[in-house]
Amino acid sequence: MKLKSAFAGFVSMALAAVLLAGCANQMDPARKAIADIEAAVTAAGPDAAQYIPDQLQTVTNQISDLKMKFDQKDYKGVIAAAPALLAEAQGLAGAATSAKEAAQAAALEALNGEWSALSASLPAAVAAIDSRVNILSKSRKLPANLDAATFESVKTGLADAKTLWDQASAAQAAGNMEQAVTAARQVKEKADAALAALGMTAG
């Protein structure tokens, strides 16, 4: 009887040892699987956070779930789920690049559109202001709605606008649309100020 219970005890201990060894065998692969997934996310870089934040968040959330499984010693569960999540994580880099290119193309299209509008109107605005300033410069007395100080500031603004327009045109010719549009916006500001000071309106 004593021998029987000793044998049963031995078998239980042996079984537990085998199970423990099995678990320990899966722990390292599970740990490595999570590490590989996290490395794939890191490889996607800051572009993933900027251009595909929702997709990145989905993968990050799933990594957290996987880590929870690991903490609960469900190494089998981690190993089973890891391949699909790894594929998703590896896809982040390509998705971020595509999203970034699409965003840059959209931004360039917007700049081109803004340039078209500004370049269609600003030369005429500057010409109209120029014509009025030339005539007023011959005047023996300024009109009632314009004092000398304001007229001087209009002339300065006009000179600045012409310089800025040359810079904008040069930037556009060189393909630097951001610089071209930035300069053109400044031309518009100066032209609008001059038109208002002169009591002129756009039709």
Partner: protein
């Protein structure tokens, strides 16, 4: 309504023969327009726009497609004010 502006261009005898009116200048959204009212002359319009009526030839020059004579403007005419 034909008040006279001071003479600016020669006497009628030396006027050149009638010609085609000049082509309209290229207008833009920034062309300033003025509608002639009763009692207006180019001198008065120039005085209002430029502070100096003697600059009326600038208005005439800008409107030679519409005006053949700076002394002859009509109520309702729309003139460019450069």
């Amino acid at each position: 309504m034909e008040e006279k502006n001071p003479p600016a261009w020669g006497s009628p005898e030396s006027d050149p023969p009638a010609q085609e009116p000049p082509a309209a200048p290229a207008d833009s959204a920034y062309t300033q327009w003025y509608e002639v009212k009763s009692g207006d002359t180019l001198w008065k319009i120039a005085k209002e726009a430029y502070g100096d009526g003697s600059l009326y030839p600038e208005i005439f020059k800008a409107n030679q497609d519409i005006l053949s004579d700076p002394d002859k403007i009509k109520v309702g005419q729309k003139l460019r004010i450069p």
